[in-house]
């Protein structure tokens, strides 16, 4: 397990290392500030960052990108509610300052599985959106064929499917091409 701790406070980095004792292999790296090259080279499984670190925005912005990491935040006990709010806003988990080291490992585990789950949900959602988009395009292409070629709905769909199979392309792509060409032809005619 590779853990990157971004915190100006050396003591807290040591606390994390202590809480992870016994994990093999384990590498904990401590850095006062976010350093992009270092993060890329180290490729951490999880990043632990102090709530008062200026680099939180950088990590926050990476959460939807392919090189995002599960982010665990260190928060001070004096600000109730902040940690929960940070989790609602996308931080995977939090460690309240002063926590017993033996709880740290389970928190990091939770963070990593929650991050993986969120990423999965996000990609499912993106796929569902793309499917819906492609279905809309196919419907419009069907409508066009019905109007221009006098086909019924079933016939229009079969024609699209045949075109797709003949050209070895997804039906959504064929439908989009058809609509694009129809647009060009209309533009030429007017």
């Amino acid at each position: 397990m590779r853990v990157l701790v971004i915190d100006p406070d050396q003591v807290r980095a040591e606390l994390v290392a202590e809480g992870l004792e016994g994990i093999e292999p384990l590498e904990v790296r401590h850095s006062a500030l976010y350093d992009e090259a270092e993060v890329l080279a180290f490729a951490p499984d999880v990043v632990v960052i102090a709530a008062e670190s200026p680099d939180r925005d950088t990590l926050d912005s990476l959460k939807e990108s392919s090189h995002g990491h599960p982010v665990v935040m260190f928060v001070d006990r004096s600000e109730p509610g902040l940690a929960e709010q940070a989790v609602r806003a996308g931080v995977a988990a939090y460690v309240v300052d002063g926590l017993a080291p033996n709880r740290i490992r389970s928190i990091l585990d939770v963070a990593m599985s929650r991050f993986a789950l969120t990423r999965q949900l996000r990609s499912d959602l993106a796929r569902a959106k793309a499917d819906l988009e492609s279905r809309k395009v196919v419907d419009r292409a069907k409508g066009l064929l019905m109007k221009e070629r006098g086909l019924d709905e079933d016939g229009a769909y079969r024609l699209l499917r045949k075109l797709a199979m003949d050209r070895g392309k997804p039906i959504g792509v064929i439908a989009a091409d058809l609509l694009a060409f129809a647009g060009v032809l209309k533009g030429d005619a007017s």
């Binding site: 912005s61 509610g81 902040l82």
Partner: protein, 381 residues
């Protein structure tokens, strides 16, 4: 104990937090019956979270961040009852990139340079097999992100495909450019001037060239302050409006710079801080403090354009949930007779035209169509 109401306000080290610093330094909070603690925060995300849970009563906040909070969660109660500034940001490129853009001049008096020369350079780099240039903004939901993207796209550069866009907190921009990690950035004052004065970068275009009088930060407050302590909120707005008017006055500039450059504030040289105060930033005059619906709708149009929110959202509902010009008016009008003439606030303020450097007019009633009219964008419907 003092009979004053205690409030905590957060700020990020940027020149446009001036109305808050001025209200504190000039004693306006106390005169309005408030004991305000100003807390310097390190990141926008933490500012947002602290205001949302009430760990801060209010803060210096990116206007689009307040709107995004409501767009992402309709139960969010972050409100924007006051705009802190107009103008003040800029696009800066590293000295190396500036030299590579041979022929582009940085003339801050005229229209901004086109990004077309940069586009040609990007094409040359691609042909040579060089990696993409890296540009930085301060937060995904920020005027800086939208202005930089607008300017790049206007020059034919797709900000998501032709360059790499990263997020860096304002006080770290200059060191990351010096380290060669970023080739350009869009950030608020004083960090552009700092880059130039330290010989690290050159300012290519100021936000006042890209959008004269364009919006930027707001005072973001927690809904509980507005709901449970309306008198304190009005007092707070009055003090900040007075701070903004004081900060605008040229005769106060030297004192303002000293306040801003003080320990625990911005940590930049007075010379760097002075720059944007002289030519750019407006805090109060021309009704700059009024949080304008049309500005909020422009921000939302950019969120649609770049795929941050879906195009079918009810934009008016989001703006009206967050932007509260009524609270500003109420506080400003109550001040009018107190300090003639700078604080007189007209009963009716005309809507402002929103028009960027390309001359395209933004019609607030057609924000969605505007978002989808550009050749480069990510909007999906």
């Amino acid at each position: 104990m003092s009979g004053l109401s205690d409030l905590r306000l957060g700020f990020i080290p940027l020149t446009d937090c001036a109305p808050l610093i001025a209200a504190q330094a000039q004693g306006f909070f106390e005169e309005e019956g408030l004991a305000v603690e100003l807390v310097r925060e390190a990141s926008w995300a933490t500012v947002r979270d602290k205001v949302a849970v009430g760990a801060l009563d209010g803060a210096h906040m990116l206007a689009p961040m307040a709107l995004a909070t409501a767009a992402e969660d309709s139960r969010s109660a972050v409100l924007a009852p006051l705009a802190l500034n107009r103008n003040g940001s800029a696009i800066t490129v590293s000295t190396a990139l500036f030299e590579a853009l041979d022929g582009v001049t940085a003339n801050l008096a005229g229209p901004p340079p086109s990004a077309a020369r940069l586009q040609a350079l990007i094409a040359e780099r691609r042909a040579r097999g060089d990696g993409p240039l890296t540009f930085a903004v301060v937060f995904p939901h920020s005027m800086h992100n939208y202005l930089l993207r607008y300017w790049l796209a206007q020059g034919g550069i797709d900000p998501d495909r032709d360059v790499r866009l990263v997020v860096i907190p304002p006080p770290r921009m200059v060191e990351r450019m010096r380290a060669g990690e970023v080739d350009g950035f869009c950030v608020g004052a004083p960090w552009n001037a700092v880059a130039e004065l330290e010989g690290v970068g050159r300012i290519l275009a100021a936000s006042s060239q890209l959008w004269p009088g364009g919006p930027d930060k707001v005072l973001g407050i927690s809904g509980s302050l507005a709901g449970q302590k309306p008198d304190e909120l009005r007092a707070l707005l009055r003090a900040i409006i007075r701070g903004a008017a004081w900060a605008d006055a040229p005769e106060n500039r030297e004192a303002l710079i000293a306040h801003l450059a003080g320990p625990g504030r911005i940590e930049a040289t007075p010379m760097a801080i002075a720059r944007a105060l002289e030519h750019e930033l407006v805090f109060h005059r021309d009704a700059a403090g009024l949080p304008r619906r049309e500005h909020g709708l422009w921000f939302l149009s950019q969120m649609i354009r770049w795929g941050q929110i879906d195009a079918d959202r009810d934009l008016e509902a989001i703006v009206d949930q967050v932007y509260r010009p009524d609270l500003y008016r109420d506080a400003a009008l109550s001040l009018g007779p107190v300090l003639e003439p700078t604080l007189v606030f007209p009963d009716a303020v005309e809507p402002v035209e929103a028009r960027l450097f390309d001359g395209v007019m933004f019609d607030p009633a057609a924000a969605r169509a505007y978002a989808e009219r550009f050749a480069i964008g990510r909007s999906q419907n």
